[in-house]
Structures are given as structure tokens and as C-alpha cells.
């Protein structure tokens, strides 16, 4: 299992070169093609970057991420490299700039763009225009979504870091399904400039790593305001790695009863979360029962607000300024024929959002959901007045079988029950491998108040260290 920390040592000690690391990553990706992890592998680009990074390492003028191979979800604009957001409507689109998150990773080596649900609309990575992604622990099962490819590329051992986006759980859910760490910071903590918009009041840049420490190191590089993103608050960036070793004795861990009482929660998943709670208690933390009374309204709120914002954000895809332009004898025909390139789930969300934002319905639907969002935020505020972090399952079930839920939107949405409320509140959440359920990966989720990433990473790291190794074998 690679970590950024260990690869940095190997590079600095000249045990391996940046090019060798890259070639190993590319070879592994090729060997595991069946997982359908990547939409674009940017081998030539990466080789040039690796060579440049090695020059810097040799000259002693490098930093933490110099030469480290990584991947980015195809939702991130990458200058000169095709960016599709998993959709045919952006096939062939080559951005003239890179997202801020990509720029801030500096001379790390981007190896390619990972596969995903189209425009991040999904929880399983089955709604990609380029075929589904497979779970590396069981090829018949989903890796979760929408950032499935990014979760898989880290889980499968290609690279130690992959960027994803989390709008309703799209980093946290796949992390739990793929036995990796998935981190969604506070909304706005990492700038969204250059991230193809899905639901703008919810979209958050997140990442996949093998360890909590790596997530802390990467957050350090990515966090901070950006003149190109007016929703990135000017809140000081903590020294996240420095706080990891702190003892959590006396820290209060909230267990929300509404989360543990969800009818669809697999009993073995529940037992695994209870074991995680005990691990934290053994470290000296205090377990406290808390209540998040509006939990059951999280899914309806999210699946009303999200498609509304999606419908608005998808309006730009009309074949006029960028991307493929379909034939048509009138402007209107160009619009209709180009937008026929959207997949089924994106079309569904556009239709819902068109309805909920239309005159006569916007008050009863969109504004209503915004008010319930206020209540969800209040629930967390009230709980965090009593506890320091909250512990929950990451998913009600282990990874499901490919195809099982693809035709049933509401069954698919149900996978997000534990991830949507934190998303609505814009609070940071991290999923860490918790154990094995039915031979499959199972994660636990930890939540903290806005901008309390240092505390969150501390607790997650302490749990990870105390939990010990997870007994799972990759399928390939």
C-alpha cells in the first residue's frame, strides 16, 4: 500500500525515480483495464511532467508532492487534457485551463482522468457514458459513485492520491465501498474553480488516499481562498498534519440515533460501526447519544435541491460555445439535438429541476426544500454544541451488484442516506475503512463542524491507527 509520505522518502533517497513511479502506475492501470477506472490516461503528458519533476528532485528544489503520481476525476478541468465529466456532451472537450485544485497540486504527476457517473449524477459510477466502473474487491459489484474511478485507482494500487467531488456523498460513499480513505472538507475549503459544476451550493472538492495522514498532507496543499471562487471563505488554513497525534481522551463522540435506526441498515454494518465506537472509547473518548431529528428529510431535501441546481447548470450544454455541436437547420434544433447526448440520469434530474424551479412551483418545492435545509443545519449545530465529532455508518449496505439499482432511481438514491445531510450542512466528513462485512469493504464516517478539519483528521487518524489492518484481498 503506497502512501504519499512513503513515496516522498523513496524519491528523496533516490530509491526510485519519478519516471519509474509513473511507469509502475501506468503498468498497473493497463493490467487492471477491466475495472474501467480511467476515461483518459495521459501517458505522454505524465512522462513529460515526471521528467521535469525529477530534475527538481535532483536539484533539491522540490516539495512534498513533487513527482508523486495522482489521478483526477474527469469533473476537473485539466489544461490540454480531454475533460468529459463522464458525458458524451463534452466528448473531445479540451479545457484551456486547469482547475485551482489541479494547479495547487503543483508538480505532482497527473496520470489521467478517472471514470465517474455523468456530471457526478449517481451513487454507483454506473451512469457513465463510458461504461461502469467495477469494484476492485469484487468485479461484479459497484465501487460507489459518483467518484468511483478515483476511489478505485487508489484502492487498486495505481496511485496514492486521487481527486474527487462530493456533492451528496460522491467521495465518502465510494471510499467506504473500496476500502480507502475518502475526505470531503467543509464546503468552500478547497476552491471549485475549474470543477465542472453539478449542484453549486453543494459541490465540494474531496480526495481519496490510503491513509488519513496523506489526506491531511494533501488538504494542506489545497485549502485556502481563491480569487476565482467567490464561495471559498478566507478562513485560516490550519496545520492539519501537526494535529494528528493528539490524544482524543475526553473528546465527545456523538452517535445519532436516527442514523443507527435506519430500517435498511445492514445488521453487520451496524455491528461494525458499534465496534468502531468502542475503539474510540478505548482511546479515552466519551460516547454520547445525540439526535438529528430531521434526518429522514435529508434524502427528499437533497433530491429536490440537487436536481434543481443540476438543471440550471446543465443549461450551458447547448452545442454553441464548446463541446460537440449536433447538426440542425435552426438554432433550436442544435439545442435539442446536442442535448440528446445527455444520459438518462442527467435527463431525469434536468426534468425534475425544470419543474421545481418553474413559476408556480418554485415556492412549494425549491424554497420549501431550502427551508428544510435550514432545519438540517440546525440539527447539526445543536448536536455539535454537545459533542466534538459525530460517528455514523458510511452506507446502509455493502457495495451492491452492478445493475441491481441502475433502473430504480429511488433505490439508488437510498444509498446516500448517511451522506446527504452533512452535505446539505456543508460540514466536513471523512470515511475511513472500518472493517469487512460479508467479505466486502465497509467504512465508518466521522463528521465535524465547519472548518474543524484539524479535529476531524485527528480523530480519524487515531481511529485508523487503533483499528489495525483490514483483512481484504483485491480481486485483481
Amino acid at each position: 500500500m503506497q502512501t504519499i509520505a512513503s513515496l516522498r522518502k523513496q524519491l528523496d533517497n533516490k530509491e526510485v525515480s519519478a519516471l519509474e513511479l509513473l511507469e509502475a502506475a501506468l503498468a498497473r492501470v493497463t493490467a487492471t483495464k477491466e475495472l474501467n477506472t480511467y476515461i483518459t490516461v495521459a501517458a505522454d503528458h505524465a512522462r513529460a511532467r515526471a521528467k521535469a519533476a525529477q530534475k527538481d528532485i535532483d536539484a533539491g528544489r522540490h516539495s512534498l508532492l513533487t513527482g508523486i503520481p495522482y489521478a483526477a476525476k474527469d469533473e476537473f478541468c485539466t489544461k490540454g487534457i480531454e475533460t468529459t465529466a463522464g458525458s458524451k456532451i463534452l466528448q473531445g472537450y479540451i479545457p484551456p485551463y486547469s482547475a485551482t485544485a489541479i494547479e495547487r497540486l503543483g508538480d505532482a504527476v497527473l496520470i489521467g482522468k478517472t471514470n465517474q457517473d455523468e456530471f457526478a449524477c449517481g451513487s454507483s459510477s454506473e451512469h457513465s457514458a463510458f461504461g461502469p466502473v467495477k469494484n476492485p474487491y469484487d468485479l461484479t459489484r459497484v465501487p460507489g459513485g459518483s467518484s468511483g474511478g478515483s476511489a478505485v485507482t487508489v484502492a487498486s494500487g495505481d496511485v496514492p492520491l486521487a481527486l474527487g467531488t462530493d456533492t451528496g456523498g460522491s467521495v465518502r460513499l465510494p471510499a467506504g465501498f473500496c476500502n480507502v480513505v475518502g475526505f470531503k472538507p467543509t464546503y468552500g475549503r478547497i476552491p471549485r474553480y475549474g470543477v465542472i459544476a453539478m449542484a453549486s451550493s453543494l459541490d465540494t472538492v474531496g480526495m481519496f488516499t490510503n491513509t488519513v495522514q496523506d489526506a491531511a498532507l494533501v488538504l494542506q496543499q489545497l485549502a485556502g481562498p481563491d480569487q476565482f471562487d467567490s464561495t471559498s471563505p478566507d478562513v485560516p488554513v490550519d496545520d492539519y498534519a501537526a494535529g494528528l497525534q493528539q490524544s482524543i481522551k475526553g473528546l465527545k463522540i456523538g452517535i445519532p440515533k436516527e442514523y443507527m435506526d435506519v430500517a435498511g441498515l445492514d445488521p453487520d454494518m451496524r455491528a461494525m460501526v458499534e465496534a468502531a465506537a468502542k475503539t474510540l472509547a478505548d482511546l479515552g473518548a466519551q460516547l454520547v447519544d445525540v439526535s438529528l431529528p430531521h434526518t429522514k428529510y435529508g434524502l427528499p431535501t437533497y433530491y429536490l435541491l440537487c436536481p434543481s441546481e443540476v438543471a440550471s447548470n446543465m443549461a450551458r450544454y447547448d452545442g454553441i460555445q464548446f463541446g460537440p455541436r449536433a447538426e440542425g437547420s435552426t438554432l433550436d434544433e442544435v439545442f435539442y439535438n446536442t442535448r440528446a447526448l445527455f444520459g438518462a440520469e442527467v435527463k431525469r434530474r434536468i426534468m425534475i429541476g425544470t419543474f421545481t424551479l418553474s413559476a408556480g412551483y418554485v415556492d412549494a418545492y425549491y424554497k420549501k426544500a431550502q427551508a428544510v435545509r435550514s432545519l438540517v443545519i440546525q440539527d447539526f449545530r445543536n448536536s455539535f454544541a454537545q459533542v466534538d465529532v459525530i460517528l455514523t455508518p458510511s452506507s446502509p449496505t455493502p457495495p451492491f451488484v452492478i445493475g441491481d439499482r441502475q433502473m430504480d432511481p429511488v433505490a439508488m438514491y437510498a444509498a446516500d442516506i448517511y451522506t446527504v445531510c452533512p452535505a446539505l450542512a456543508g460540514i466536513p466528513g471523512i470515511v475511513v475503512p472500518g472493517g469487512v462485512v460479508g467479505g466486502l469493504p465497509a467504512g465508518v464516517q466521522l463528521l465535524a463542524p465547519q472548518f474543524a478539519e484539524k479535529r476531524l483528521l485527528n480523530v480519524a487518524h487515531q481511529f485508523e491507527q487503533a483499528r489495525g489492518p483490514i483483512d481484504l484481498q483485491l480481486a485483481m
Binding site: 435539442y336 431550502q370 427551508a371 435545509r373 435550514s374
Partner: protein, 98 residues
């Protein structure tokens, strides 16, 4: 909320989506199911609750009104489907000559 066939047609027109007969049928079923989910929100009394549109608490975030593009006009033109020789985006006419 019951979604009818005529609702679907109207929404598709508003969203500029061309749906086949099969897609229309599926959309009626799926949207019906999804609205059954979101209609649960009617159980919540929000009469005295302020809506939240965004969670940062920021407002009126401004920057100086200067050109801060990080890429050249040519880079942009390269992403356009149909460009004239002098770098203009070509589109179908909106207005007809009478």
C-alpha cells in the same frame, strides 16, 4: 404530486430535451417515484424557518474589475465548434431576413 404525460411534454420543451416515446413513459414512472420521495417534505412545518441558499454565510464577495484571464483568446477559440477565420464563434441565425 402527480406528474402527467402533458407535464412531461411541457418540461421537456422547457429543458430542450427530445424524449422518445419510451423515454417519456419511463420519465412518467421515474418522476412519479421521485416526487413521491420529495413530497415527504410537506410533513415539515417550515412556516417560521428562513430558507438557506448557501452555507458559507458570505455575501457581496467582489474582486477588482480587471481582466484576470489565465488563458489567451486563441486557447478559447480552440474549444469552439465553429470559428470564423478572424476568431469569431459562428452560430445559426436567430433572425430571418424578410
Amino acid at each position: 404530486m402527480q406528474i402527467t404525460h402533458s407535464d412531461i411534454e411541457k418540461l421537456a420543451r422547457m429543458a430542450k430535451l427530445k424524449l422518445s416515446a419510451a423515454e417519456m413513459q419511463a420519465m412518467e414512472t421515474d418522476l412519479g417515484d421521485i416526487f413521491a420521495l420529495v413530497d415527504q417534505l410537506n410533513e415539515v412545518d417550515t412556516s417560521r424557518i428562513e430558507p438557506t441558499s448557501q452555507v458559507t454565510g458570505l455575501s457581496n464577495v467582489t474582486r477588482p474589475d480587471v481582466d484576470n484571464y489565465t488563458f489567451a483568446a486563441d486557447d478559447m477559440a480552440a474549444t469552439m465548434p465553429d470559428v470564423t477565420d478572424d476568431g469569431y464563434l459562428r452560430v445559426h441565425a436567430l433572425f430571418k431576413k424578410d
